[in-house]
Symmetry: C2
C-alpha cells in the first residue's frame, strides 16, 4: 500500500478538499490557485490528526519528514529559512476543521523566533519593538497551547499578569506605551517564568517549536470547549482538524502595517457592502480577542484608499468564485495586502435569508441553492422576538448589534450561574452580562436569553458564536462597567445587580433597564420570497398542531395548509370546563356522566365550529381524547398529605377523602401505558361519542356560516386493528346519524395515530380500516426505546454526553429504530391502500432532519407547532432538493 500523503502544499490543493485539508486549508489552496496574495504554506491533513489520536497522542511515523520537505518548498517560495538567523522564516500554525469552529481550537503565531534570530532580526529590521513584541507573543502563545496545564502557570492570563505588573512598574497605560527596551525586559521575565514553571528553557530549536505546535493543535481537537461546540453543532468527533503552516506576514511592524477581519456583506443585516474591523500595528489576535476595540473597515478607505480598493476587488473575486459571502482575514505588511484566510461566513438568520435572496437576484446562485443554503436554525432566528411594537422604553446604553432579537431577563454575571439558572437549568430567563466573553463561557451563553458584553467587537469570537446560535447579543457596550466579582454593573449612577431585570435589543445594540414585552417578528420581504420558492419546491404538505382558533389563525399566517393535530382534551382544561370534566369523571353511573357530557358538547361544538371557520376550508385532523382521566383530577400526593393532615388534626375532610379514594382507584403505576387513548374510549365510549357529535355538529354549523369543513377524526393509541374497527363502527354510526338528521353533507374521515410499535408492525391490517395514518412519534419513540419522556432526563443526558446515543431521540427521529418502524408502517399500509394519506404530528414534525426523513419515506405531510411552520416549509423544500438534484 502506498504511503498516505500527510502534507499538501497550498498550490497542490483546492476548495473541494475540505475533508482532508479542513475549510481553512482548502480555501488557502483555492485562493492560492486563483492568484490571490496568499503567503505560502502547506496543510497537514485531518486524517493525520485522527492518526495522532489513535496512536494515543503520538506523531505518526514519517510525518515530520514530510513536514520538512513541504517546509523546504515554502522556504524556497518565500526566500527565507526556518531557524536561519540571517534570513529567518516565521510561520503560523493554525487549526482548521472541515466545519468552522471559531476560536475553539489552538493557533500559534510567530513560530520560528529564538534568542539568536531575535538579535539578528533587530539588526535587519532596525525595529526592536516589533521583534520583541513578536517574541513575547510567541513565548506566551506556544507556552499556553503546548505547555500549560493544571500543574503550572503557563496559561495566557499568567503571562498577561506579568505584563500587567511590568506596565504598572513602568507607568505604562496601554501595551503600545511600552517601548522596545520594555518589551525586551518582558521577554526576559517570560523566559524566566517559563523555566521556573516548566523546569527547562523555552525551546530554542525552531524545528522542535514547529513539532510542539503541530502536536498542540492536534490535541486541541479534543479540548472540552471544542467538544461542547461540536455536540451543540452536531459536528462529528471523528473528523479531526487539519493543521496549516503558513509563512507569517506582520501587521504589527509599524503604523503602515495592520490586520483585520472582514465580511463581504453585513453578517447581521445581510446588506451588500464590505463589513469588518481592523487595527493598525497589530496582529490578528488583537482584533478577534476583543481586547482592543477595533476600527470599522470603512475607515480604511480614508486611511489607505488604494489598499481598500484592492481589498474590495479581492472580496468581489472571492464571492464570484465561491458564490457565497466570505469571511476574510487579512494583513497589511508595510502597505502590502495579504489574504490569510477566507471561509464561508457565519451570518445571522436574517442576513442569511437576505443574502441568499439577493444573490439569486444578482444571478450569483439560483433559487434552489438559495433554499438549500438556509438552515432551520437561521430561519428560526428570523422568527426571534422583537420588542412589542409601540412599546415605549428608554435606552440605558448602546453597544454593537452583535446578535439579532430582543430578550428580557434577570442579569447574571458568570456563565456557570447562567447555565445553572437558565435554559436547561432552572429554566429562568437570564441575560448574561460579562466584561468580555470567552469560548469557555459557551454553555452559559447557550443557557441565556441574551448576552451583553462591555468589550469586544462584532467579530469577537464570542459574538460570532452567539450569533451562530441566534442568541440576542449586545457586544462592546463600553459605557457599562461590569464588576463580576460583586455581581453587578454600573452605568453612571445606575447599578444593576444580579437578579435585576434588564432587556436588550440585539438588532440595534440597545440595553434597557427592566423588563419589556417582546413579540414575534413581522416576516420581511426576503423571508416571504424565500418561503414562496420553498413552497414551489417541496413535495411534503405542511400542517400545524393547533388546539384553538387563535392557534389556527397564527398557523395559517405562517403558511400552514391545515391542522394536523388538534388535541381535543386541551379544550377540557379551560377553567370554565374543568369542573364539568371532573363531575363527568366522578359520575357514579352512565346517566349522570351523560348529563355532564351534554354540557361539554355545547363547548366542544362551538370550539370546532370556530376552528373550522378559522381554517377557511382547510382540513383539520382532530384527535379524540388521549390522556388518562386522572390527569383531570387533583394530584394524588397532595391529596394524601391533605387528608393525613386533616386526620391528624382531628378535622377530617370528607370531600378530600372521597376525592382521594377516587384518585387512588384511578391511579396507575405507568400511566403512559395505561387506560388512555382508544383504550379509554372503548371502556367509556360516551366521551368520544360526544366528541364525534361535537365535531360533526361543529362542521355543520361552520357550513351554515358558509365555510366548508373537512374534519379528519383521529383515534389515538391503536395497537390492534380490532380497537380501530370497534370504535370506528361505533363513531361512524354517531357521525352518520348526526349528518342524517341535519339534512346536510359533511366530508369527514376516520383515521388513526400510529404511535404504538404494534400498530406499525401490523399497519397492513390497520390500513384496511383507516382512511389516514398519522405518526405520533413522541409516543412511538417512548415505546420503541422504552423511555418515559417524563423520566428519561436522568439517563438521556449522560447517554448523549457519553455518545451512547448520537442525540436525543425526542428531538430528532431515531431513523434506525423508530424510523425503521415508520418505514414498515408506510410500506405495509400502502401495500393495502396505495393512496393512503400518511402524516406525522409528533414534535419531530417541526425538526429539519426528521422532516427530511419523512420526505424520504414518502409521507404526505408533516404537522408541527405554528411557529415551526416556516422552518418545516423550508426543510421540506430542502429535503426534496436533496433527493431530486443539486445545481452546484
Amino acid at each position: 500500500m502506498a504511503q498516505t500523503k500527510h502534507t499538501w502544499l497550498f498550490r497542490e490543493g483546492n476548495a473541494s478538499m475540505r475533508d482532508e485539508l479542513g475549510g481553512k486549508g482548502a480555501n488557502l489552496a483555492e485562493m492560492t490557485n486563483i492568484n490571490l496574495p496568499v503567503p505560502p504554506g502547506f496543510t497537514i491533513t485531518t486524517m493525520t490528526c485522527n492518526e495522532y489520536t489513535e496512536l494515543g497522542g503520538k506523531m505518526p511515523a514519517g510525518l515530520m519528514d514530510e513536514v520538512k520537505i513541504a517546509l523546504a518548498d515554502v522556504e524556497k517560495d518565500s526566500g527565507k529559512k526556518l531557524g536561519d538567523p540571517t534570513n529567518p522564516l516565521l510561520v503560523s500554525v493554525r487549526s482548521g476543521a472541515k466545519f468552522s469552529m471559531p476560536g475553539m481550537m489552538d493557533t500559534v503565531l510567530n513560530l520560528g523566533l529564538n534568542d539568536a534570530i531575535v538579535e539578528s532580526l533587530i539588526k535587519t529590521t532596525g525595529n526592536q519593538r516589533f521583534v520583541y513584541d513578536s517574541y513575547r507573543r510567541f513565548l506566551m502563545m506556544l507556552s499556553d497551547v503546548a505547555f500549560s496545564n493544571d500543574k503550572n502557570k503557563l496559561a495566557k492570563h499568567d503571562f498577561e499578569h506579568i505584563f500587567y505588573e511590568l506596565k504598572t512598574k513602568l507607568g505604562a497605560k496601554d501595551d503600545t506605551d511600552v517601548d522596545g527596551e520594555g518589551l525586551k525586559q518582558l521577554v526576559g521575565l517570560y523566559k524566566d517564568h517559563i523555566k521556573a514553571e516548566l523546569g527547562r528553557d523555552f525551546p530554542q530549536d525552531t524545528y522542535e517549536q514547529l513539532q510542539v505546535a503541530i502536536e498542540a493543535v492536534f490535541k486541541s481537537w479534543n479540548n472540552d470547549r471544542a467538544k461542547v461546540y461540536r455536540r451543540k453543532e452536531k459536528i462529528s468527533d471523528s473528523l479531526g482538524t487539519a493543521v496549516t503552516v503558513q509563512s507569517m506576514v506582520f501587521g504589527n511592524m509599524g503604523e503602515d502595517c495592520g490586520t483585520g477581519v472582514a465580511f463581504t456583506r453585513d453578517p447581521a443585516s445581510g446588506e451588500n457592502k464590505v463589513f469588518g474591523e481592523y487595527l493598525m500595528n497589530a496582529q490578528g489576535e488583537d482584533v478577534v480577542a476583543g481586547v482592543r476595540t477595533p476600527m470599522p473597515i470603512a475607515d480604511l478607505e480614508k486611511q489607505n484608499p488604494a489598499i481598500f480598493k484592492e481589498f474590495q476587488d479581492v472580496c468581489a473575486t472571492l464571492e464570484k468564485h465561491y458564490k457565497d459571502m466570505q469571511d476574510i482575514e487579512f494583513t497589511i505588511e508595510h502597505g502590502k495586502l495579504f489574504i490569510l484566510q477566507c471561509r464561508s461566513a457565519k451570518r445571522s438568520g436574517m442576513a442569511a435569508v437576505k443574502i441568499a435572496v439577493d444573490m439569486v437576484h444578482e444571478n450569483l446562485i439560483n433559487q434552489n441553492t438559495a433554499i438549500s443554503r438556509i438552515t432551520a436554525e437561521q430561519l428560526d432566528q428570523c422568527l426571534h422576538p422583537v420588542i412589542a411594537p409601540g412599546t415605549k422604553y428608554s435606552v440605558l446604553a448602546k453597544g454593537l448589534p452583535a446578535g439579532p432579537g430582543a430578550a428580557s431577563g434577570i442579569a447574571v454575571f458568570d456563565a456557570t450561574r447562567a447555565a445553572e439558572l437558565g435554559k436547561g437549568g432552572k429554566g429562568q430567563k437570564v441575560i448574561l452580562v460579562r466584561a468580555d466573553t470567552s469560548p469557555d463561557d459557551l454553555s452559559g451563553m447557550l443557557a441565556s436569553e441574551g448576552i451583553l458584553t462591555e468589550r469586544g467587537g462584532m467579530t469577537s469570537h464570542a459574538a460570532l458564536v452567539a450569533r451562530g446560535f441566534g442568541i440576542p447579543t449586545v457586544a462592546g457596550c463600553s459605557s457599562i462597567k461590569v464588576d463580576a466579582k460583586n455581581r453587578q454593573f454600573t452605568i453612571g449612577d445606575v447599578t444593576v445587580k444580579e437578579g435585576d431585570p434588564i432587556s436588550i435589543n440585539g438588532a440595534f445594540g440597545e440595553v434597557i433597564l427592566g423588563a419589556v414585552a417582546v413579540v414575534p417578528p413581522e416576516l420581511t420581504g426576503e423571508f416571504g420570497e424565500l418561503l414562496k420558492w420553498a413552497d414551489e419546491t417541496r413535495r411534503l404538505s405542511i400542517r400545524a398542531n393547533a388546539d384553538t382558533p387563535e392557534d389556527v389563525e397564527l398557523a395559517v399566517k405562517f403558511g400552514a395548509e391545515g391542522v394536523g393535530l388538534c388535541r381535543t382534551e386541551h379544550m377540557f382544561f379551560a377553567e370554565d370546563r374543568r369542573p364539568i370534566v371532573q363531575s363527568m369523571i366522578l359520575a357514579e353511573n352512565d346517566a349522570d356522566r351523560q348529563v355532564e357530557l351534554d354540557k361539554l358538547l355545547v363547548f366542544q361544538r362551538n370550539d370546532f365550529k370556530e376552528m373550522f371557520i378559522a381554517l377557511g376550508g382547510r382540513a383539520a385532523t382532530i384527535r379524540l381524547i388521549d390522556p388518562p382521566l386522572h390527569e383531570f383530577l387533583p394530584n394524588l400526593e397532595e391529596l394524601i398529605e391533605k387528608v393525613a393532615t386533616a386526620k391528624a388534626l382531628k378535622t377530617p375532610d370528607a370531600a378530600a377523602e372521597a376525592m382521594l379514594a377516587k384518585v387512588q382507584s384511578m391511579h396507575e403505576v405507568n400511566p403512559m401505558m395505561g387506560l388512555r387513548g382508544c383504550r379509554l374510549s372503548i371502556v367509556f365510549p360516551q366521551i368520544v361519542e360526544m366528541q364525534t357529535r361535537a365535531i360533526i355538529e361543529g362542521a355543520i354549523e361552520a357550513e351554515k356560516a358558509g365555510i366548508e369543513a373537512h374534519p379528519e377524526i383521529m383515534i389515538p393509541l391503536v395497537g390492534h386493528v380490532n380497537e380501530l374497527k370497534w370504535l370506528r363502527v361505533k363513531l361512524d354510526q354517531t357521525a352518520s346519524e348526526v349528518v342524517k338528521s341535519s339534512g346536510k353533507t359533511v366530508d369527514y374521515k376516520f383515521g388513526t395515530m400510529i404511535e404504538i410499535p404494534r400498530a406499525a408492525l401490523t399497519a397492513d391490517q390497520i390500513a384496511e380500516h383507516a382512511e389516514f395514518f398519522s405518526f405520533g412519534t413522541n409516543d412511538l419513540t417512548q415505546m420503541t426505546f422504552g423511555y418515559s419522556r417524563d423520566d428519561s432526563d436522568k439517563f438521556l443526558k449522560p447517554y448523549v454526553e457519553n455518545k451512547i446515543l448520537p442525540g436525543d431521540p425526542f428531538e430528532s427521529i431515531d431513523t434506525e429504530g423508530v424510523g425503521q418502524l415508520m418505514e414498515i408502517a408506510v410500506q405495509k399500509g400502502r401495500s393495502v391502500k396505495p393512496q393512503l394519506k400518511i402524516g406525522i404530528c409528533g414534535e419531530h414534525g417541526g425538526e429539519a432532519n426528521s422532516i427530511a426523513f419523512c420526505h424520504k419515506i414518502g409521507l404526505d405531510y408533516v404537522s408541527c407547532s405554528p411557529f415551526r411552520v416556516p422552518i418545516a416549509r423550508l426543510a421540506a423544500a430542502q429535503a426534496n432538493l436533496a433527493t431530486v438534484e443539486r445545481d452546484k
Copy 2:
C-alpha cells in the same frame, strides 16, 4: 353455485367430518358405517348454525325442506313416521360442536309426542306410565330450551316444582312412586302451566316441534355458559354447533330398559377397564343430571351378562377403530343395546398420561401420537398438589374421586360468592360446596381450589367439567347435608359454616375438616416415560427461571437443562440484605456506596457459588440488576402520609423526611420506562461491577469445590447497541481481572436481553457485541403494545371479552406483533452470527402455544418456572412433531 348440503344422513357421513357434523354427528356416522347398533338419524351441519346466526336468528331458506327429505329416510329405516298416531316416530334433537362442550348447549328428547299420539301409544304399548313419563319430560324440555325466558316460568325448575308439589300431594317420595295416572295428571298441570305462561297451547304439530327444537339448539350455541366455556377452552366462537336428529330408543319403558354413560377406560386413573354408570328404567338425562345417583357399570355384568359382553365388545371395537379412549352413551330398550353417542373421552391429566403410555405398550398408537395427545393442561394436572406425605388427618366423609388433586380452603356455598372470593376475585383459597353443581356454576367452579358436592356421579356434567380443568373434586358425597340457604353443611353433629376451613383429597374422594398441608406430587412411572419420549423428540432445550439454589434443585428435578434466568436483584430483597441495599442507595458518594457494595459482594458471591454447585455443571444465565432502585426503598405514599401526620402533630420525624426527600427525588412517573436495567448500570456502574465480580468469584469457588460453572452474564433492557458495548467493555474488564488474579479459567459469556422493541429492530448491530440473546417477552409485550402490565387489567379484561384481542398477550405470545419483532430479531441477529444462541425467559417460556412459536422461529431454548418445566418439555416435543410429521 350448487346449493350447499345442510343435512347428512348418518350413513352418508364419517368421522373425518367433525367440522361439518360436529364430533357427535361425525361419530354417529362413523359408528353407523362400522355397523354398530345406532338408531337411524341425520345431522344438520355446523355451517347451518352460522347461517342461522348471520341471518339474525332466521332459518336458512330451504333448510326445513331438506330436513323433511332426510326425515323421510329415517322414517323409512325405522319403519315409523313422525306425527303418525298409528306408528309414531319419536326423535332426539341434540347439539354437537366440533369440540366437545359437555352440557353447555341444549338437547330435546322424545320429540314427536302430542296428545293424539300419547293416546295411541298407550294403546299400542299398554304402558301408560312410560308414555306419560316421556310426554311430561318432553313438555318440560322443549319448553325449557325453546320457550323459557325472563318473562315466563317455563324453566326446568319451574316444572320440577310443579312435580314436587304433586308428589307431596300424592304422598310420593321418588318420581318412580308416581304411577301412570299421576303422570297423566302432571301432564295436564304442565300443559295448563305452559298455556298460562306462553299464552298459547304447547304445539301439537310434530313438525313445528321439530323446527322449534332445531332453532333452540342453534340458539344455545350463543348462550352465556357456552360462551364462558369456549373462552376458557379457547374454542372459536365461529365454529357453530351441528344438530343431530335421531330416532329415539327408550331406556324408560320398563325394568328391562335402561340407559348409561361409560368410558372405555377409567377417566380418573386411566386404568384399562370399562368404567361408567347406568340406571334402569331411565332416560339419559337422569344419569348425567346427577339427580339420581346411578349404579356402576360393573353391576350390569351381574344384571345382564349378555348385554354387558356385547357392550364390552362395542368398547373394544371403538377403541381399535378410533385408537383412543371413548366416552359412550348407550340405551337398552327391552333388552336390546343401542349406542347413541361416542366421542373421544375427557379424562384427568393423570389418566391421559397413563392411557397414552399404555396404548403405546398395547401397540394401539406410537410414541409420537402419545406425545401429541397430552395437553399442557393435562400434564399440569399431574403436577397438582397432594396431601403432604405422612400428614395425619381424619376423613370426615367420603364421596366419589371426581377430580384429582388435594385442596384446602374455606367453605363457600354458592358459585357467585366463590367467584367473588376465589381465583380472579379476592384471591382467597375457597372450596365450593354444593348440593349438586350445574353448568351455570362454571365461573364459580373455576375460581375454586376444590369442589365438594352432595349429589351427582362421576359423570355428572359438573364433575366432567371440573375434571377437565383439573380442579380437585369430590362428588356425590351423600353423607353430608348441604344447606345452601344457611350457608353451611352438616354431617352428623358436625356443622361446617361458610368461611370454615376444609380440605378435600380428590384422588380418593376424601373430605377433611380443617386445613391440611398440600405438596406437589411425585412423578409417576408413566409420567416419566412420556417425558423421556418427549425429550427424545424435542429440538428446543429447556431451562428454568431460578433465583436460589433451592429453585435450581427443583428445576433440575423437573428436568431443566440449565438456568435461563437468574434475577440477581431478588437476592437483594432478603431480610439480612435489604438494609445494606438501602444504605447503598442512600450513600452520598461513590466511596460510601462502595462500602455497602463490598458487603453485598460477600452475599452474592456465596449465592452464585451455591447456585453453580446446585446446577452441577449446567449453564446459568444471570441477569444483572434490572428494577429501578426506588423499588428497594419505602413506599412514597406511605411516607407522605407519615411525614404529614408527624408535621400536623408537631412531632416532626427528621429521618422520615430525609427518606421522603430521597424517595421523591428518585420517584418516576413511568418507572417501567425509567432508570432501570442497563440504564441504571451505565449511570451507576458500581453495582453491576460488584455483581460481575460476585459471579466470577462464585464460579471460581464452585470450581474449587469441583463443580464446573458456566455463567452467562446477561445485560437487561438494551435498546441501542452502544449500551451493550459500553457496559460490556467495562464488565469484561472486571471479569478478566478477577479471573486473571485467581489463576483459574472461567467459561463466562456476555449476552443481552431482547426486550425493548428497538433492540429487536436493530438486532444485527446488537449481535455483533452479544454472545447470546434472551427474549424478555414480558417487557417486549409491554412496549410493543404500550400496555403497562400493572395497569392493563382495566382494559385487557373488556378487550378479551369483546374479542378486541384474541387473548391476554401476557399469557400467550402475540405472534402477529410481538412475535413479528422476535422473528425480526432472530433473522437479523443470525444474519451477523449464524450460530447465535437465542432463548426466551419471559413467562411465555412455560406456555404451550408460545413454546410452539419459539420452536417455529428457531430459538435454541425456552426458560420457565421450575413447575412448568415438564410442560415445556412436552410442548417442545409437540412443536417439533407438528413441524416434522404426524403419524396418524
